[in-house]
């Protein structure tokens, strides 16, 4: 893990508490339950990255926008963890204050243009639209059918948020997303296994042998 992100995560332990209650309240019980049932080892490993979801880069309004945007890209449903369950917002927030600091302006401009577009079209910011309106807006960005964007272009902004949402869903939890391995559980990926056997390789069944292995857990078990 890059040291930069590590520092940010430590910083978050102190600052994320304020937002914790609100974020947790938005997670439907069914989803939270699905994840925790499948997560024998999360415990203290993930504690620093949990809870707030932002604070390293995004302000509250922009955090709500990105959280809503990511959730429309990868929506959660009972038994199917989505971007909010995976805490994609937390991943992007940490990345923009760490490895992706060079993309801060891209996000600032992109978010401002997104709000301008939504205000002109619906009279509300993206974060305050209905899910259907948000989907309509995202589709317009994806296909470059919005006038409010210059730099970044609507398509470039869509592509980056889409890419970062996938990263937050499926990268190792040490980066602050894929919370409780929710992205990996969604698709049936067993994580950073160090070995597969001949029988594993030939199997036509889903690989369900526990535990799912993340990098911190792998290192912990190795170092006792």
């Amino acid at each position: 893990m890059p040291k930069h992100d590590e520092g940010r995560r430590a910083f978050l332990v102190g600052t994320a508490v304020a937002g914790a209650a609100a974020t947790t309240a938005l997670v439907p019980g069914a989803r939270a339950q699905t994840n925790s049932q499948n997560m024998p080892m999360q415990g203290d490993v993930m504690a620093p990255a949990m809870g707030g979801g932002h604070g390293a880069f995004f302000n509250d309004d922009d955090a709500r926008t990105i959280k809503a945007f990511a959730e429309r890209l990868m929506p959660g449903a009972p038994g199917k963890p989505g971007a909010t369950d995976a805490d994609v917002l937390n991943y992007i927030d940490l990345a923009l204050s760490g490895s992706y600091t060079d993309q801060q302006e891209f996000y600032r401009h992109g978010l401002a243009q997104l709000d301008a577009h939504c205000l002109a079209t619906y009279g509300k910011e993206f974060r305050n639209l209905s899910a259907a309106q948000q989907d309509e807006t995202i589709a317009a960005l994806e296909h470059g059918k919005t006038k409010a964007f210059s730099w970044p272009s609507a398509q470039a902004f869509f592509n980056i948020v889409h890419k970062h949402t996938m990263e937050g869903m499926f990268s190792d939890p040490v980066y602050g997303g894929n919370k409780n391995f929710s992205g990996w559980i969604l698709v049936g990926f067993p994580g950073a296994q160090m070995q597969f056997t001949e029988q594993d390789m030939l199997s036509k069944e889903a690989f369900t042998r526990e535990p799912i292995v993340g990098m911190q857990a792998a290192l912990k078990s190795k170092r006792g």
């Binding site: 990868m74 199917k80 869903m169 990926f189 296994q193 056997t197 390789m201 069944e205 690989f207």
Partner: protein, 573 residues
């Protein structure tokens, strides 16, 4: 500023440079290797981190610090390509590669002659620059064998001294010796691919990998973890230069590696010889190495760029460029892709050696009749993950959803949740012919972190022969997907003509100094103490991955330097 003296300086210690460092060092020759990246260890690869190694490409050049630009034609503006295939550390691309280790076919070395003999001259595209290699498969075979045994390659012979063996590649050129290691284990993707190919009357086999299937030379066998292509191997089972030739070079006592060293010029004198190189050290310090022999073995971009940057009054068009062919005839594999998804079985594509697990060679090279097809040559077709590694992030970024499934939203989520473990990609690694206007020069607008002009590619593969070839290959892949019994088979659209994997050419070898840059020993025609190694020397590319051929050529050059050049410096011909 320091000035050091040595017998040989090697710029870029990867697939070729690492072999030369070890072999020259063993012969008692003092070697300094320059490497712009770090030297990592097996222990550095314990983190199975898809974000860092696949997505953020931590083992490859940072495109912001080391941009390579591309434009489809001279009228267009060139922009940096988002990712580069080559490595950025000691061991080069062999650290993160998928480790496919092929010998080229006999006709891969004589595409021009073989095509004309079988189909007539008119079948060669008029604007192409296809030439024969200046050496034959037979010339290179002993070095292929040496590379396979010294490095450690797993596979099964399909043609042993002319006798064909099912289960190996029956189309391969005849080999004198079986692979040193048995093939890697087959996975469920391979089972499906092999069954389908056989049903179609084709000849599937386990792709040869430079990954040891069992303990070999004090290295453990593959664990099939799947964090393979794009990653360093966490047990050292991948036969990268890092764990094979560099320890050998160290043991000679004649090799010194300088990391963080960015070579910016090859120095030459008025006698027409090169005298050494200059490089920036990790702190930006400016240093010079004086050497009897200069060996350039970075990736093709820096081979071309360094020669262009090193121009003098005596060599006004760049070093080794009296022919005017420096930077021209570049090629890249054209990627044809299809996908097959199952309802009744999981195939768990993320397991095992990730890249190009199992292959067919029936539609590669001239292994099939091209009469009236409208194109020559073909592709190696294989099964494996969409992104060549099978993690859920790489797959999400690399897989094109089937028609009717969007890239996002509940429908994408449900598709991906169901099929991630139930799908495989099929890849047609399609040969690209050389054309003189497919080229690399210096970008007048973009500079790298050292202030040097970026290499600029001008390239667009979308010509009639290439299109016809890749469309034919895609059709074959769809047939294989259907023969697997997959209810869902679809293809990915072809890209915008940008160069795909395995860039080759730029300093091509030939028999004629007027139409090539180096001779068959990768020795400059113009400057006999300058050797230019790697896939930039390939005059044609084959549908196979290039690394084992790069390595065999490096062994051949090492032998020529040790046994002949040292006694009698000058042209090896």
């Amino acid at each position: 500023m320091t000035i050091e003296k040595t017998d040989v300086v090697i710029v870029g210690v990867g697939a070729a440079g690492g072999i030369l460092a070890a072999e020259l060092g063993k012969a008692g020759i003092k070697v300094i290797g320059l490497e712009r990246g770090p030297r990592l260890k097996t222990v550095d690869f314990e983190a199975h981190d898809e974000l860092r190694f696949f997505q953020r490409q931590d083992l490859r050049p940072d495109p912001k610090r080391m941009p390579v630009t591309w434009r489809p034609n001279p009228g267009a503006t060139a922009h940096p390509i988002p990712s580069q295939n080559n490595g950025n550390e000691a061991g080069g691309g062999t650290v993160h590669y998928g480790a496919l280790s092929w010998r080229f076919h006999e006709d891969d070395f004589r595409v021009r002659s073989a095509t004309m003999e079988r189909y007539g001259k008119a079948t060669l595209p008029e604007d192409s620059s296809v030439i024969d290699w200046p050496l034959s498969y037979k010339d290179l075979e002993p070095y292929y064998e040496r590379a396979e045994y010294e490095l450690g390659v797993s596979g099964k012979a399909g043609n042993l001294k002319g006798q064909k063996f099912e289960g190996g590649n029956v189309f391969e050129a005849p080999r004198q010796r079986e692979y040193p290691l048995k093939p890697l284990l087959i996975d469920q993707v391979g089972v499906n691919f092999t069954g389908a190919a056989k049903k179609l009357g084709l000849h599937p086999f386990s792709s040869p990998h430079a990954i040891v299937s069992e303990p070999y030379n004090d290295r453990p066998g593959c664990t099939y973890c799947g964090f393979c292509q794009a990653f360093g191997c966490h047990v050292g089972a991948k036969s990268s230069i890092l764990v094979t030739k560099l320890p050998e070079a160290d043991a000679t006592g004649n090799f010194k590696l300088i990391t963080g060293a960015m070579c910016y010029r090859v120095n030459s004198d008025n006698s027409g010889k090169v005298t050494g190189v200059s490089y920036y050290g990790p702190g930006g310090d400016d240093n010079t190495i004086e050497a009897e022999i200069v060996i350039l073995s970075p990736f093709i971009y820096d081979n071309v760029r360094l020669l262009l940057l090193s121009k003098t009054e005596k060599f006004p068009n760049g070093l080794a460029n009296s022919s005017g062919h420096l930077g021209r005839h570049i090629m890249a594999h054209i990627g044809a892709r299809a996908f097959a998804a199952f309802d009744d079985r999981h195939v768990n594509v993320y397991m095992g050696p990730s890249a190009q697990k199992n292959s067919i060679d029936d539609y590669n090279a001239d292994n099939f009749d091209h009469t009236n097809l409208g194109f020559i040559r073909g592709a190696q077709i294989s099964a494996g993950p969409a992104g060549l590694e099978g993690g859920p992030l790489g797959t999400a970024m690399s897989m094109t959803p089937p028609p009717g499934v969007p890239r996002w939203g509940a429908a994408f989520r449900d598709f991906y949740a169901k099929y991630y473990t139930r799908h495989t990609a099929l890849t047609g690694q399609t040969e690209n012919l050389p054309y003189p206007d497919q080229m690399i020069d210096l970008d007048p607008h973009v500079r790298d972190a050292w202030g040097l002009p970026a290499p600029r590619m001008t390239y667009d593969w979308r010509r009639p022969n290439e299109r016809a070839r890749v469309e034919f290959i895609q059709g074959k892949m769809v047939q294989i997907g259907q023969a697997m019994g997959a209810p869902l088979v679809w293809t990915a659209p072809f890209g915008p003509g940008s160069p795909g994997a395995h860039h080759q050419g730029g300093t091509r070898m030939g028999s004629n100094p007027k139409e090539s840059v180096v001779n068959k020993y990768s020795q400059s025609w113009d400057i006999p103490n300058l050797f230019i190694m790697g896939s930039s020397t390939h005059p044609t590319m084959s549908g196979f991955n290039p690394t084992l051929t790069i390595q065999a050529l490096a062994y051949m050059t090492a032998d020529a330097i040790v046994n002949r050049y040292r006694k009698n410096p000058g042209s090896l011909l």
